[in-house]
Each structure stands twice: as structure tokens, then as C-alpha cells.
Symmetry: C2
Subunit: 345 residues, 2 copies
């Protein structure tokens, strides 16, 4: 009993004299004040093992009073590990991402995993920093990243990483890619079947390899409908970029009858410009986007586009993580695309 008494005094000290130095309230603090062993407190909290109801009540009271909260780290150390994966994207609001995120979350949840999300707020420069800070908290990472591979590799230091927007050259990475080639191919065939022979593109800078532009050029050439160099304009990846893009393209090549946009955002801008110029779609000009974002359905006419199964992409990424975690080095997985013919082409 003397020991208990002593302890209480110590407790009073640390709590009364210097509450600012607020050390964390621990199981032992509760135990001391409640006059029981820390083990009993544990039992009271977890409802495990036999314990006198009265003791339990008293302990829980002290728990409340001290605002005690168990340390998740201490728990994690002792209990079977919950695996947590980190997800880094540029921006949650970009309509491309929510579905992707949903795929990751649901696939993770199926496995009983948790997902930690971070965004670069559209600033790729923050990637290394984010990767580093997430790396300490998770068991693996999934990222839609733009930095050079060695920069990324340096930041994650051996943590399993799955990249979802580009090929993985670096041996430490694993990748999920979109079948851009098949998508562009399908779009091209569609346009040609509709009689288009002078096709243009509103492209954007991208780290992908091969780029959409290369793929498009190849597909067009393969079909004997070569694309003129000046029928490809490059703009910033945004709606505004798309608006400017179509305007520019019309100036340079007014004879173009069909346009493939880098993605739906850009296509939406082009769509806007087309309407502003009084061009009917698909009559005066056919327009095809890429991504298959749902807002395209709301446009008038609705946007024809190469749809990506973004949800599936997220799920595949989690599956890759699973194999990585198991010690595998899985080959790149390719997510399919599907032409969504909706009206603008």
C-alpha cells in the first residue's frame, strides 16, 4: 500500500504542478488514481477477462475524468497489425480522382485495410515531401505522381509503391497502366467509320510514354489517314486550355472535321468553343474526349469519349500492393478502356 500511496503523490506532482508539460495520460496513471493495477484498467477498458463490475465502474470513471485515450501505437505494437496504405493524388476535386479513390478504398476495405490520403494540391514539387511523410505511416503507397522516378524512389526508400499514371521503369516500382493504345485505336476507328479524314488533336504535356499523341499518330498512320503536324496543338491541361486549343486549331486548320482532345476537361473547353463558334457537333466538327468523366453526359450534345474504368484502376492498384506486400514483383497490369459514344462524335 505504501507503494501505491507514494505513486499517487508522484502523480499529483506531474499533474498539478506542471500541466503544461502535459505528458500523455497512460494506463498506469489511471491505475494509480483508481488504486488498481494497470492490468485491471486494461481489463476494464477492453471488457476482457473477469473483473468486478464495481471495480470496472470505478476505473471507467477515472478514465473519463482523466480523459484517458489508449495509444494507438502501443496497441498496434501488441495487436495484429492493421495494414494501411497511403494514396497520393494531385487533388481530390479533379473529377478524375473520386472514382479512382473509391476503387482504392473499397478494394482496401475488402481486405480490412485502411487508406491514408494525401494530396499535392496540384503541386508536383510537394511529392517528395509527402511521400516521405506518408512513408512513415503506411505499409505501402499508391500514387498518381509526376516527379522523375529516381526522385520518387529516393523519397520512399524501399516502401512498396504502385504508380498508376505511367510505366514503371524503376525496379522498385510497380505499375497499373491504362490501355491508352486500345482506347485511341477505338476512337480512331470510330472517326474513320464516320467518314472523317482530316483529324486533329488538342494535346497536353504529359510524362506518359508513349504519349497519347504518339499513339494517335501511329493509329492514324496505320489507317492511312495521316495527321498533319500542324493539326496538333498543345495546350495547358485544363478547360481553359481546351477552349484556346480548339480556337487555335480552327485558325490553323479550318479543314479539320474531327478532334481528339487530351482528356475530358480539355474536351469540355473545346466543346464550349465549338458552341461559341456556332459549330454543330458532330456535324461541323466531331469531338472525342478521354477519361469518361460523367459530367460529359450533361453537355449538349453529350461528349463522346474514351472511357477509363477508374474505379477498376484503383482496385487493380490495391491488388498490386497486395502482391508487393506478399514479396512478389508483379508485372504491370493494364486497365481496359471503352469507347463511350454519346453524341459529340
Amino acid at each position: 500500500m505504501v507503494a501505491g500511496y507514494d505513486a499517487v503523490t508522484v502523480e499529483d506532482d506531474s499533474r498539478g504542478v506542471s500541466p503544461e508539460t502535459s505528458r500523455r495520460v497512460t494506463l498506469r496513471d489511471v491505475a494509480r488514481i483508481a488504486g488498481v493495477s494497470h492490468q485491471t484498467v486494461s481489463r476494464a477498458i477492453n471488457g476482457k477477462g473477469e473483473i468486478d463490475p464495481e471495480t470496472r465502474r470505478r476505473v471507467l470513471e477515472v478514465v473519463q475524468q482523466l480523459r484517458y485515450r489508449p495509444s494507438r501505437h502501443a496497441r498496434g505494437l501488441v495487436r495484429p497489425d492493421t495494414t494501411t496504405i497511403g494514396l497520393i493524388v494531385a487533388d481530390v476535386v479533379n473529377p478524375y480522382f473520386p472514382e479512382l479513390i473509391a476503387g482504392v478504398i473499397s478494394a482496401a476495405e475488402q481486405r480490412g485495410w485502411k487508406v491514408l490520403i494525401s494530396t499535392t494540391q496540384d503541386d508536383p514539387g510537394r511529392e517528395p515531401e509527402l511521400l516521405r511523410s506518408l512513408a512513415g505511416q503506411v505499409d505501402a503507397l499508391i500514387g498518381y505522381l509526376f516527379q522523375p522516378e529516381d526522385v520518387i524512389a529516393g523519397a520512399v526508400e524501399g516502401l512498396p509503391l504502385v504508380v498508376i499514371n505511367r510505366p514503371a521503369r524503376h525496379p522498385a516500382f510497380s505499375a497499373v497502366e491504362v490501355d491508352v493504345r486500345a482506347g485511341v485505336e477505338a476512337a480512331m476507328e470510330h472517326l474513320i467509320a464516320r467518314g472523317h479524314r482530316r483529324i486533329g488533336m488538342i494535346d497536353c504535356p504529359s510524362a506518359a510514354d508513349p504519349s497519347r499523341r504518339d499513339v494517335l499518330l501511329a493509329a492514324a498512320a496505320a489507317h492511312g489517314v495521316p495527321i498533319a503536324a500542324d493539326a496538333i496543338v498543345e495546350v495547358e491541361q485544363s478547360q481553359a486550355g481546351g477552349e484556346a486549343g480548339l480556337a487555335r486549331l480552327r485558325e490553323v486548320r479550318p479543314d479539320v472535321t474531327a478532334v481528339m482532345a487530351f482528356n475530358d476537361m480539355v474536351a469540355m473547353g473545346a466543346h464550349r468553343t465549338a458552341r461559341r463558334l456556332g459549330l454543330s457537333m458532330p456535324g461541323d466538327i466531331a469531338l472525342i474526349g478521354f477519361d469518361g468523366l460523367s459530367f460529359g453526359e450533361l453537355l449538349e450534345p453529350p461528349l463522346t469519349t474514351v472511357g477509363i474504368d477508374k474505379r477498376g484502376l484503383g482496385e487493380l492498384a490495391v491488388a498490386q500492393v497486395e502482391r508487393l506486400l506478399a514479396g512478389d514483383t508483379p508485372p504491370t497490369v493494364v486497365a481496359p478502356t471503352r469507347l463511350l459514344i454519346r453524341g459529340s462524335a
Copy 2:
């Protein structure tokens, strides 16, 4: 030394013979194989303290070879805590949420916090289970929840919780609310100023209190433009609900000239029905949504709506968490709304 030797054997066992039983690779395993103390390994990994480059190289090699990864829990136990907050929403894809999530993430990031996201996949029944499982991983929770308060309270057991879609009656909760009253009020004034006198509503079931319906009725009454009981139809909260809602309303009260929808999703459905019926907006019928989702801008005519600063809502929630974590019991915070007059009313 015998102990060490034994251990090596065990290690060999667990890796070679039964990789399924795979115990975690620890710092000590690395140390043993590298022939140094676990402390040296720690130094090699963290780059702290003096260490012979050659030793370091050798250690890191073993680290690679054994695929050693430090345990985040063990680290967390010793290092200053990263605070992590859990965020629970129904579904990331619902266009209401991405902005909210973005707000939470950016506010959290500003404070150096991490965000763990979970979704109920639109099944409120999963809330207790999710809350419980998240509770073990985070320092506080933010949730867009539908279960009764005591159910929630039981699941989080004292973890700080901020609810963002309803008032907090329970003392353990803290809340961020949307200023529905002001929003509805503004919408009402707008309609009345435009000469509308027979106003209807497409409502949905909701846990909010007071409900949007009550608020609308009060506002209407206050302006001397009472709303007939049968001018309020209740539908499921979805686009399909909205479609059915306006159709039903037109049948019962064809004289209604303006309709307030429960939210933008529902309004979009109504918008569709209006077009299908050949009703011009805002001429034949004025339509106002709620939420201020951006897709409303793409409709033709664009949807007039009561806008919510969803990003701000998320930021406010994080601020509430901060106060909660500091030991405060902050009062409910109200996020403002703003009428976005875009065309449909």
C-alpha cells in the same frame, strides 16, 4: 551467445521452411545477420550518429535482402506523435464530398496532420463498425453520419468526434452545421421577388432538425406565401427521385410556378423532367437546388441553387477537431450559404 545462435536458426526456419508463418523482420534480425548490434542498424537506417560508411553499407545491404521495414507502431511509440484524423463519408463519388474532403485534407495538412478516409459505401448500417475500426487508428473523427447519436457514441467511446451534417445533441459530439435557414430564406426571397406565389418543394427524408421542409414552410409563411401541404412531395434522395418528384408534383399541383428541391441531385432529376415535359425554365417553372454542386453549371439552363462552401465546411470541421483535441468543448460552428443565381430560377 547460445541464445543468439538459436535465434538465427529460428530465423532461417521462418524464412526458408515456413514463409507463411512469417514473423516480422525486426531490427534485431538485421543486426544478427549483419553481425552488428541492433543499435548500429538503427543508426545506419536513420543516418543518425557516427557510423563507419562500410558498416553502414553492409547493414543496408542486409536490410534490402531481408526486406526489412521498420514498424511504424514501434516508431510512433518512441517518436513525437503524428496526429491523424479519421474521416467517414457515405461515398467519395457523390459530388458533394470531394470538396468537403479537400477542405479536410488541406486543413489537416496545414497542421501537419494526416487523414484516414473510410466510406460506408452508402450503407449507414456500416457506420458503427467503421467508427469502431477507425477509432483505433486515429486521434479524432470527422463524420457525415446518419445513425442515431447514441449508436454513434457507443461506437466511438470517447474519441473526439465532429459531425458535419446535423446538430450535436450528445455531449460527446461537436458539430459543424450548414446555415440552411439563411440559404432557404435567400432562395425564398429570390422567388418572391420574381413574382412567384405558388411554390412547391421536392423533399427527401433526412435526419436534420429542423428539416429543410420546416425551414421552407416557416420562411414562406413569414413572407405571406404559405405553401400548400400537397405542394410538397417526398422522394428518395437521388436524381431518379427528383425526376419522379417533379412529375408527381405537376400532377397534383399543376399551378405551382416555382420548385425548391432538396438538393442539386434531386434538382437535376427535376430539371430533366421539366425538359421532358417541355416546360421552360425559369419561364414555365422556376427551379432551385441546394448544395451548389458544380455540375449544375453545365445544365441548360444552368441550375440556380443555394451554394454551400463545402471546402470551408471541411476546414471548419478540422478546426473543431483542433479545439476538441486541446480539451475544449467548442460550440457548434455554422457554415454560411450563398444563393447562386444561374438561370433556372
